[in-house]
Amino acid sequence: MTISKTQRKQTDVNRRQFLGTVFKTAAGVGLMGMGLGLYAKQSSKLPPQAIRPPGALPEDEFLGACIRCGLCVRDCPYEILKLGQLGDQVPTGTPYFTARTGPCEMCEDIPCIPNCPTNALDHALKDINKARMGLAVLIDHETCIAYLGLRCEVCFNICPIRGKAITLEYHHNKRSGKHALFLPIVHSDACTGCGLCEKACILEEAAIKVFPIHLAKGELGHHYRVGWKEKEKAGRSLVTPDIKHRYNLPEGVRYDLQGEGLIIEPKGGQEELPMSSNPLDTLNKGLENK
């Protein structure tokens, strides 16, 4: 009886010890897990100047897929890719490039992708022109020398998808009154985010920069429909019947909707009077000829 009692006490103590150890270990490891989880959340934000290689999955998926082996870094013939190091803002061990110092040269065979063991760089991407590493944005109109009225077009000319990802728009130079502005405009349907334009920008600090698409691109409200596109799709106006708009304009004046704007027609179909209604014009006429 007494023996069994001490035995029971013994097992009780052992069990208590065992449970104590288990509890302590579990609590310690649990705390470690919470710390790691928080740290992971903190460090999952990629700085805007760090661009992922072509074919990279969306960032949150990428962090679950990339095993940080660095094979893409080794397979890049231009050696632009780096792995994030502890202390960088880039999650440790994950690949990125910085457009301003080393942009993606857009190799046709995309050698960084095939050896990726986990599809963190999507093997389905076969056409480098379909890569969307980021999006170039002409972020500063105040320093871009094209906006200052100078001929530059370096970003336009260096663009590997020249004439599609960046086009030039010609505008009147209001300041000088006699020159043109050749403004580079980026088109997101063609820009791969390779960053060659950012690298090539002649400014001390580039006026055109590549950013991750979620930073660079706006997004319309999902309910939003652009009228003229819907009209084009349907082949007719969907809102109001296509009737000619009637303006309440004075007689002899009409309005051309998509052309010249306000048109003043000569009264009664006759030629305009040879003399101005302003007597000063008549007076000054003689001076001009002198």
């Binding site: 063991p117 986990t118 599809n119």
Partner: protein, 309 residues
């Protein structure tokens, strides 16, 4: 004859080289593997590219770390054929030679923690803090739980193993702080703290090699003179006792614990050459060779008087 330290007697008896044979082999292996990866970056000779997480040797042989790939799969990844081939090769290799051969022959952190252990012995550093040796399995569970919850491979943000290897091959950044942390932890906080108690990578490879073929065998255990050098030098000293002292209980001479790293230090430091590398099916030596057995016992009997002198 006064004993100077762990392994001193072995050096005296077998010579320095033989008493460090496996240690030197391991260092050659660890540094050699790093050198293979570095040959490309430093010398421009591309033999292996990538790192321990996943690598490609001579552009044909893929090798992938099963622990990190499993985390990626739990985060929702479908790995490629090459990654699966790589994992199968790695797992097969460690199932054969012992899972924790990764720890003692490949992992670069081993050099750091071995240095800490050596300093602890040298300066008699003791610490009272106790972390259970089973903690690593909890941490291993954590490394699998976090990708399930967060969808991202969280452990790789901290993993000193991959960080040190990647640091050496790709650039260290501030990863040396974590390596220093592991060193200080092992030196002052807990004996064999990192590799022996916390590291989930080691725990994972323990499980991989739980039934591995290559094992250390104390097949001349009758020669043991209780000098305790093997216990002092072993990073997982609890694994030795059953094999070395279990003869009376009918336990075989093979060190079967999956926590044994097959580092071979016990073989090195044993002056009586009790241990050797064998297989899990190895039998005790001296079953039919009584002369050797009795000789060993005689030597053991001489021991106390020698120590007293």
């Amino acid at each position: 004859m006064a004993r100077e330290g762990v392994g001193a007697e072995a050096i005296e008896k077998k010579g320095w080289l033989k008493a460090h044979r496996w240690l030197i082999s391991r260092r050659i292996s660890q540094i050699g593997i790093l050198a293979l990866f570095l040959a490309g970056t430093v010398g421009g000779v591309w033999i292996v590219k990538g790192n321990l997480a996943s690598s490609l040797t001579l552009d044909v042989l893929p090798l992938t770390d099963p622990h990190v790939l499993l985390q990626a799969i739990l985060a929702g990844v479908k790995p490629h054929k090459e990654a699966i081939i790589g994992v199968v090769l790695v797992v097969a290799f460690y199932m054969l030679v012992g899972g924790r051969v990764y720890c003692s022959w490949v992992c670069p952190v081993n050099m750091v923690t071995d240095a800490a252990s050596w300093l602890r012995r040298k300066f008699g550093i003791r610490s009272t803090s106790q972390i259970s040796r089973s903690t690593r399995y909890w941490v291993l569970g954590l490394t699998f739980l976090l990708p399930l919850i967060t969808g991202s491979i969280v452990w790789e943000l901290f993993n000193p193993v991959s960080m040190m290897f990647r640091g050496i091959v790709f650039g260290m950044g501030m990863a040396w702080i974590i390596i220093l942390g592991v060193f200080v932890f092992d030196l002052f906080v807990t004996k064999e703290g990192w590799c022996g108690r916390v590291c989930p990578v080691g725990a994972f490879y323990s499980l991989v090699g739980a039934k591995s073929l290559v094992r250390v065998v104390a097949d001349r255990r009758s020669e043991c003179d209780d000098c305790m050098d093997c216990f002092a030098v072993c990073p997982e000293s609890q694994v030795i006792k059953p094999a070395l002292k279990g003869a009376g209980k009918g336990i075989g001479p093979v060190i079967l614990s999956s926590n044994c790293t097959n580092c071979g230090r016990c073989i090195d430091v044993c002056a009586e050459e009790v241990f050797r590398f064998g297989t899990r099916f190895s039998k005790e030596k001296g079953d039919g060779i009584n002369t050797e057995g009795s000789l060993g016992k005689k030597r053991a009997a001489e021991k106390p008087s020698a120590n007293a002198a």
